[in-house]
C-alpha cells in the first residue's frame, strides 16, 4: 500500500515486518526517527515478541546485538557517524563471529568539526570490517533492502549494513509502498543459526586463533562475501518477481549502453544525477549513470562490464581518503583495469553540502570537454581556502580553521561582533 511516509518510518515499519527479536539502539542524529519508531511498535505490542533495549552507547548497542544473535535471535540496530565509529570494535567483531545482524546506517559526516549532515565518511570507515554494505537510492529501496538484508545475512552468516543517506532520505516524506506481513513472512524464513549458545549442545564461540589458521579464517570471510555477489542479484530478482519492485542488486546502470561518459555514484544523489543525464541526453550527449548498490562485496565484474565502452568514468563520492583521494574510485580503478579509460574523481556533498543538478551539469560539461581534473572537489570555495592558508602562514596562533572560514563567510555571530 502506497503511503506518504517519512523514510525513517518506512524503514522502521519494514524492519518490524521482519520480526526482529532483539532491537537495541542508542540515539544519534539522523538515525533517531528509525529507532523511535521501532521502539514505539514494540511498546505498543505491534512487534512481538521483541526486546527493545535502550542502551548506554553504540558500543553497547552492537554488543547487545552480538549477544542476541549468538543466542539465535534475529537482531537489529541502527546508527550513524560517530556512533558507528564508537561501536567500530564491535562492528568488526560481529563480522568476525559471522553473526547476521542487520544495521541501518543513516549516513552522516564524521567530526571534527562536528557535523550532523549527510555524507558517506562513516560507511567508508568500516568498509574493511567484513560487513556487507548496501546503499539505498530512495526510501522505497531503503525499506525493501532491509527485507533482503535479513535474508542475505542469515543465509550467509554475514552482518549487513543498509546505508541510507541521513536527512536526505531518512527525513524525507515521500510515497513508499510498504510490504505486507504475509509477503515478508514468505520471503524471509525463520533464522537458523550456524552456531548458537545452547545448553544442550555447548560450544565455545569467539576463542583465540593464531597464525596457523587466521589467514584461512579471513579468506573464508572473503569467500562468503563473494558468495554474496551471487546471492544479492538472485535475492533482488526473487524480490522483484514477488513484489514487482526493482530494489537491490549489485549495480544499477542507467542509459549506459552507448554512453561515452559514465558517472558512478552511490545513494540518493543518483536521482539528481539521472535528471542531469536526462537533460544531456535530450541534447544528444552520450552520457549515463552507474549506481553502485553493493559496495561490499564490491561487484568488480558487473562494474567492469558496465563501464567497458566508456571513454571517461567520473566517480562522484561523498567521502574521500584524506591525503590520498577517492575511495570508491580506487575500487573502480582496480575493477576496470583499463589504461585507456579516463578515471576522474569528484568529491561532493561533504557534511551535507547540497549536490545540485546545476553543479552536476557543470561536471558533465567539464567531462565532455576533457577538462575535469583527476581529483575535483565540487563547489569548493577556493578563495576561502586560500585566505585561511594565508592566515595560517602569517600567524602561528591562527585559531580554529573551521571558525575562521565561517567568519569569512559572514555568519550572524560575526555581524553581531562588528
Amino acid at each position: 500500500m502506497l503511503r506518504q511516509i517519512e523514510g525513517s518510518r518506512a524503514i522502521a515499519e519494514t524492519v518490524a515486518l521482519c520480526r526482529p527479536e532483539v532491537v537495541c539502539a542508542y540515539p544519534i542524529s539522523p538515525q533517531t526517527h528509525i529507532i523511535e519508531a521501532v521502539g514505539e511498535l514494540v511498546k505498543a505490542g505491534t512487534l512481538t515478541p521483541c526486546e527493545f533495549i535502550n542502551v548506554e552507547s553504540e558500543f553497547a548497542a552492537m554488543s547487545v546485538a552480538i549477544g542476541a544473535s549468538a543466542t539465535g535471535a534475529r537482531a537489529y540496530t541502527a546508527t550513524s557517524s560517530q556512533g558507528l565509529l564508537f561501536m567500530m570494535e564491535a562492528v568488526y567483531n560481529a563480522a568476525g563471529l559471522g553473526l547476521p545482524i542487520v544495521m541501518t546506517l543513516a549516513n552522516r559526516a564524521i567530526g571534527a568539526p562536528i557535523n550532523i549532515w549527510n555524507d558517506h565518511s562513516d560507511a567508508m570507515a568500516v568498509r574493511d570490517s567484513g560487513w556487507i554494505q548496501l546503499f539505498a537510492e530512495s526510501n522505497q529501496e531503503a525499506a525493501d533492502l532491509h527485507v533482503q538484508a535479513f535474508r542475505l545475512a542469515e543465509e550467509l552468516s554475514i552482518p549487513v549494513m543498509v546505508c541510507v543517506d541521513g536527512f536526505i532520505l531518512t527525513h524525507a516524506v515521500e510515497g513508499v509502498d510498504l510490504l505486507e506481513q504475509s509477503f515478508v513472512d514468505a520471503f524471509l524464513p525463520p533464522y537458523e543459526p550456524r552456531q548458537v549458545l545452547d545448553t544442550n549442545a555447548p560450544v565455545s564461540i569467539g576463542a583465540m586463533v593464531g597464525p596457523e589458521a587466521f589467514e584461512e579464517v579471513r579468506y573464508l570471510a572473503h569467500l562468503r562475501q563473494l558468495d554474496a555477489l551471487e546471492r544479492i542479484p538472485e535475492i533482488a530478482q526473487e524480490f522483484f518477481e514477488a513484489s514487482g519492485r526493482d530494489s537491490g542488486g549489485l549495480v544499477r546502470p542507467y542509459r549506459t549502453d552507448d554512453a561515452e561518459v559514465i558517472v558512478v555514484a552511490m545513494g540518493s544523489v543518483l536521482g539528481t544525477l539521472k535528471d542531469a543525464v536526462d537533460l544531456r541526453r535530450d541534447l544528444g550527449e552520450r552520457v549515463g549513470v552507474l549506481g553502485v548498490t553493493s559496495f561490499r562485496p564490491f561487484p568488480s565484474e558487473a562494474i567492469r562490464d558496465a563501464l567497458k565502452h566508456a571513454r571517461q568514468v567520473v566517480v562522484i563520492e561523498k567521502a574521500f581518503s584524506i591525503g590520498a583521494g577517492g575511495v570508491l574510485s580506487s575500487d573502480i580503478a582496480i575493477a576496470m583495469h583499463r589504461e585507456e579509460t579516463l578515471l576522474r574523481t569528484v568529491v561532493a556533498g561533504l557534511g551535507g553540502r547540497a549536490i545540485t543538478r546545476r553543479s552536476l551539469e557543470k561536471v558533465l560539461d567539464d567531462a565532455s570537454d576533457n577538462e575535469l581534473a583527476p581529483l575535483t572537489f565540487l563547489d569548493l570555495d577556493h578563495d576561502a581556502v586560500d585566505r585561511e592558508r594565508a592566515r595560517m602562514q602569517a600567524t602561528r596562533r591562527s585559531g580554529p580553521s573551521a571558525e575562521n572560514l565561517l567568519r569569512d563567510r559572514g555568519t550572524v555571530s560575526q555581524k553581531a561582533d562588528a
Binding site: A60, S63, V64, G67, T71, L197, D198, S204, I205, G206
Partner: protein, 337 residues
C-alpha cells in the same frame, strides 16, 4: 595405629573442612556429581586464583540452575588460558566477544532468551578487574541500570595480568606494576585513586551485590547460589590473588587471599537492594604488613629502609574498611592469640 587430634582452627580461619561437614553441607566441588564447567588442562599459571574462583563460581551456578548456564567472557587471562581454538576448557555454552563489552553481550543473550520465552537458562558474565572497573565499566553500569537479568562476576587480581602486569583502577596504592614501577620518591601505584566497584554497584540499587575471596570457597559458592535466587542485575566481586602479578609464591594464593580479608583491606560482605545485609567478620585480625610482605609488588616498602609511612597509610585504609563495614566483632580474636 597412630591417631592425631584434629585442629579445628588449623588454617587459622575458623573454616571447617569438608570432611567435618555433613554431606549436604559440603561444597559443590566436593560433590561427586558436580559439573566440570571449566575442565582441566587449561593454561592458567600454577596457583592462579582466577582459575580457582571461576571453577567454584560456575559449578555453583550450574548447580543452582540445574545446569542451565550460558557464560559470556571478557578478554583477559580467563579467556586466554581457557580457550585457544581448537581446545576449550568450557563445558558450558561460552561466548567471548571483546574486552570491554561482556556486560552488554550478556544483556543481548538475556534479551534473546527472553524473546524466545526460554526461562530456565540463566546468564553469567565474567571479566577480570580491567574488563570490569576500567574498559568494561560503561557497559557494566548500563547493564546494572537496566537491571538486566545477568550475574556479573569480577575476578579481581588488581591489575592487567594478561598483558604483563600493568596498573588498573583496581590496583592498590603503592603496588608495583609495569606501569607504576617501584622507582622514585613515591614508588608503586598512587594513593587516592581507584574505584570501589562493589559500592558503585550498590549505588545502582541492583538486587544483589557481594564480595568474596578464594580463601573461603564455601562462602563464594553460597553467594553464587544466593545470586541465582534473584532476577535482574547481580554483581559478585571475587578477590583472586595472582602469583605472577603479585610476586607471591604459588602455594600462598589462599593464604594471601585470607590475609586480605583478615587485615580488613578486602571487606567481604553481601548487599541486597543497595543495603549491606551481612559481613564476614574478621576472625583473627592481622596488621597489613602480614599481607603486604608476602608479595614482591610491595617489596619496596620493606627491606633495609622500610617505608613505615606508606605502610601506615595502607593500614589506615584497612582500618577505614573495618569501621565502615563493622568487620571486627566481639568474637574476633586478637592478633596475638
Amino acid at each position: 595405629m597412630t591417631s592425631q587430634d584434629v585442629h579445628f582452627y588449623q588454617v587459622g580461619s575458623f573454616a571447617v573442612g569438608n570432611r567435618l561437614l555433613e554431606q549436604e553441607e559440603r561444597t559443590v566441588q566436593a560433590q561427586v556429581d558436580r559439573t566440570n564447567s571449566i575442565d582441566s588442562g587449561h593454561r592458567a599459571c600454577q596457583g592462579c586464583g582466577e582459575a580457582l574462583g571461576a571453577r567454584y563460581a560456575l559449578d555453583a551456578a550450574m548447580r543452582a540452575t540445574n545446569g542451565q548456564i550460558v557464560a559470556v567472557n571478557a578478554t583477559g587471562c580467563l579467556e586466554v588460558f581457557s580457550t585457544p581454538y581448537p581446545e576449550t576448557s568450557w563445558r558450558i555454552p561460552w561466548l567471548h566477544s571483546l574486552f570491554g563489552n561482556a556486560p552488554a553481550v550478556a544483556t543481548g543473550v538475556a534479551a534473546a532468551l527472553r524473546a524466545k520465552g526460554i526461562e530456565d537458562v540463566r546468564v553469567v558474565a565474567q571479566a577480570g578487574d580491567g574488563g570490569t572497573v576500567d574498559i568494561g565499566f560503561g557497559c557494566l553500569s548500563g547493564m546494572f541500570e537496566r537491571n538486566d537479568d545477568v550475574l556479573f562476576i569480577c575476578y579481581d587480581n588488581e591489575g592487567y595480568m594478561n598483558t604483563g602486569v600493568q596498573r588498573s583502577a583496581a590496583t592498590p596504592p603503592a603496588a608495583r606494576t609495569a606501569t607504576t614501577k617501584a622507582v622514585g620518591a613515591e614508588p608503586g601505584n598512587t594513593f587516592g585513586q581507584g574505584k570501589d566497584l562493589p559500592r558503585i554497584a550498590m549505588a545502582h540499587n541492583i538486587p544483589y551485590v557481594a564480595t568474596a575471596t578464594v580463601a573461603d570457597l564455601h562462602d563464594l559458592e553460597r553467594k553464587v547460589e544466593r545470586a541465582m535466587e534473584f532476577h535482574g542485575a547481580r554483581y559478585l566481586h571475587v578477590l583472586v590473588p595472582c602469583p605472577l602479578g603479585w610476586g607471591s609464591a604459588s602455594n600462598e594464593t589462599i593464604h594471601i587471599a585470607r590475609l586480605a580479608k583478615e587485615s580488613g583491606l578486602f571487606p567481604v560482605f553481601e548487599a541486597e537492594d543497595g543495603v549491606v545485609r551481612s559481613v564476614s567478620p574478621i576472625r583473627r585480625r592481622v596488621p597489613v604488613e602480614e599481607y603486604l610482605k608476602l608479595q614482591r609488588r610491595f617489596a619496596h616498602l620493606f627491606g633495609p629502609h622500610p617505608r613505615l609511612d606508606v605502610i601506615a597509610r595502607i593500614q589506615s585504609m584497612a582500618d577505614a574498611n573495618i569501621e565502615r563495614y563493622g568487620l571486627v566483632s566481639p568474637e574476633s580474636l586478637e592478633e596475638s592469640s
